[in-house]
């Protein structure tokens, strides 16, 4: 468990979300992200997915509810969830390209990103997006520049219904529980997310993984193979030296090879 000075987080109440998407606009505005061209796909949901210039997005999950009107929406605010056990930070090969802010968010430095796309391919929530224009990844950084100055992230500031609540992580959890929340998505997942949800239905109905985990192959790669390399190579070199010391070189003497 990583310890932070003051863990800041979001508690998102999807039931309060009206999908006005003020958060999407505020995010674009603060981060000065360009508009992206999309097409009408027969849904109010837009853009279709998070991309290098859309750090956050309201996902419209549509379900029939049996009435004549026939539809029920489950809105999900998609963004980086700022895991404590962050897969992206585990796999990143470049020092400082992905880093932890003092408040607990996972921010990125595009100048240090080498575009290997490891994080894009392994994030359990498929959050980091790679831009072919900049050759780097980008994602939500929880407005760490605003947080460092005591302001709330842009999306939370813009939310008119109070669906995005920003504050100290412990207090947010206590508050949600006091209001009767049974399951807080993100309280314990991946050692605790810094963006949590009070869901009204099961996570998969919202399009969230039910049991998010660091992929098995990443665990194998970084927790088993990496130490194997760290110890295996020096020990092999040592074994070779030991062999040379014990047995010495194998000299072929003149004439010896001639015996047949």
């Amino acid at each position: 468990m990583v310890e932070f000075k003051t863990q800041k987080a979001f508690m998102i109440y999807p039931e309060k979300c009206t999908a006005c998407r003020a958060c999407q606009v505020a995010c674009k505005n603060w981060n000065q992200l360009p508009a992206t061209k999309t097409i009408n796909r027969g849904t109010f949901e837009n853009p279709p997915d998070m991309d290098p210039f859309n750090y956050t997005k309201i996902k419209f999950n549509e379900y029939g509810n049996g009435s004549d009107y026939g539809i029920k929406w489950l809105f999900l605010k998609q963004q980086c969830l700022h895991c404590t056990e962050a897969t992206c930070m585990i796999v990143c090969p470049s020092n400082g390209a992905l880093y932890r802010t003092p408040e607990g968010a996972v921010a990125f430095n595009p100048e240090k990103c080498i575009g290997c796309k490891y994080c894009v391919m392994t994030c359990p929530f498929e959050v980091p997006k790679f831009s072919e224009d900049t050759k780097t990844i980008s994602k939500c950084h929880l407005c760490h520049d605003r947080m460092a100055n005591g302001l709330s992230p842009a999306c939370a500031k813009a939310c008119p219904t109070g669906a995005i609540v920003y504050g100290d992580r412990d207090k947010l959890i206590a508050e949600a529980k006091a209001q009767g929340a049974q399951n807080i998505y993100g309280e314990n997942e991946l050692d605790g997310l810094h963006v949590m949800y009070v869901l009204a239905d099961s996570p998969d109905k919202y399009g969230l993984p039910v049991n998010p985990k660091v992929p098995m192959t990443v665990v194998l790669w970084k927790r088993f193979i990496k130490p194997l390399v760290k110890w295996g190579i020096p020990l092999t070199a040592l074994a070779v030296l030991l062999h040379f010391w014990l047995h010495g070189p194998h000299v072929v003497s003149e004439g010896k090879g001639g015996e047949k």
């Binding site: 470049s94 003497s253 004439g255 090879g257 001639g258």
Partner: protein, 210 residues
């Protein structure tokens, strides 16, 4: 015949293939371990910051793959196993524990043949997974996620082989290294390490001596 020098211990193509593989392998290992261990990011910096190291890793990865194919085509015909190899295996050629036993080998001893297949297999895995990781968006997430540990593991196996092969080819067997550098070895070395090859070359009049 003692004291004579054989000058055509290996062909020009063998030398080129071998050293292209060695050089590309070393550069890929240095940059690769620089990526694996962030504390070793000096290995990234000497190749022009992480961005440059990535480009270098990709370029020499390509050189590695091409030279791997080259050495496979050159040596695969010399790496079949025969009955003499079984005798060799019983004492492991006297390589690990020294013996005076002698074997009527052709060009490579069975240990070298095993190392040949070891190199080809792990070289192929590291190349294929590296190709997948190069442009991950062309593949499924599962395939790419599986490539990461396989790439690391085969690179590790390659590094171990590199240490063992480099040791046995140089300090452990003085006189052997020059067979792949200048191609010049003593006649005694030829008679000892590749007697069947030497006899064949003599018979065909292809053994160049000075």
């Amino acid at each position: 015949m003692a004291g004579k020098i054989v000058t055509n211990g290996s062909t020009a193509l063998e030398k080129i293939g071998h050293w292209a593989l060695v050089i590309s392998c070393v550069i890929c290992m240095i940059t690769g371990f620089g990526f694996m261990f962030r504390s070793l990011d000096i290995f990234q910096k000497i190749f022009g910051l992480p961005h440059g190291a990535k480009t270098v890793h990709h370029f020499f990865g390509l050189v590695f793959f091409i030279s791997l194919i080259l050495v496979f085509l050159i040596w695969v015909k010399d790496c079949g196993f025969d009955s003499e190899d079984i005798k060799w295996f019983k004492v492991f050629g006297g390589y690990i524990i020294r013996t005076d036993q002698h074997f009527d080998l052709y060009k490579f001893n069975p240990g070298q043949k095993i190392f040949f297949y070891y190199t080809i297999i792990f070289g192929a895995i590291v190349s294929i997974t590296g190709y997948i990781m190069w442009n991950p968006f062309a593949w499924s997430r599962g395939a790419v996620q599986l490539s990461y540990p396989l790439h690391a593991l085969s690179a590790f196996m390659f590094a171990l082989g590199f240490i063992g092969h480099g040791y046995l080819g140089s300090w452990a067997n003085p006189g052997s290294l020059s067979v792949i550098t200048s191609g010049r070895v003593t006649r005694a070395w030829c008679d000892h390490h590749r007697p069947r090859w030497t006899r064949k070359m003599v018979k065909e009049g292809k053994l160049k001596e000075e």
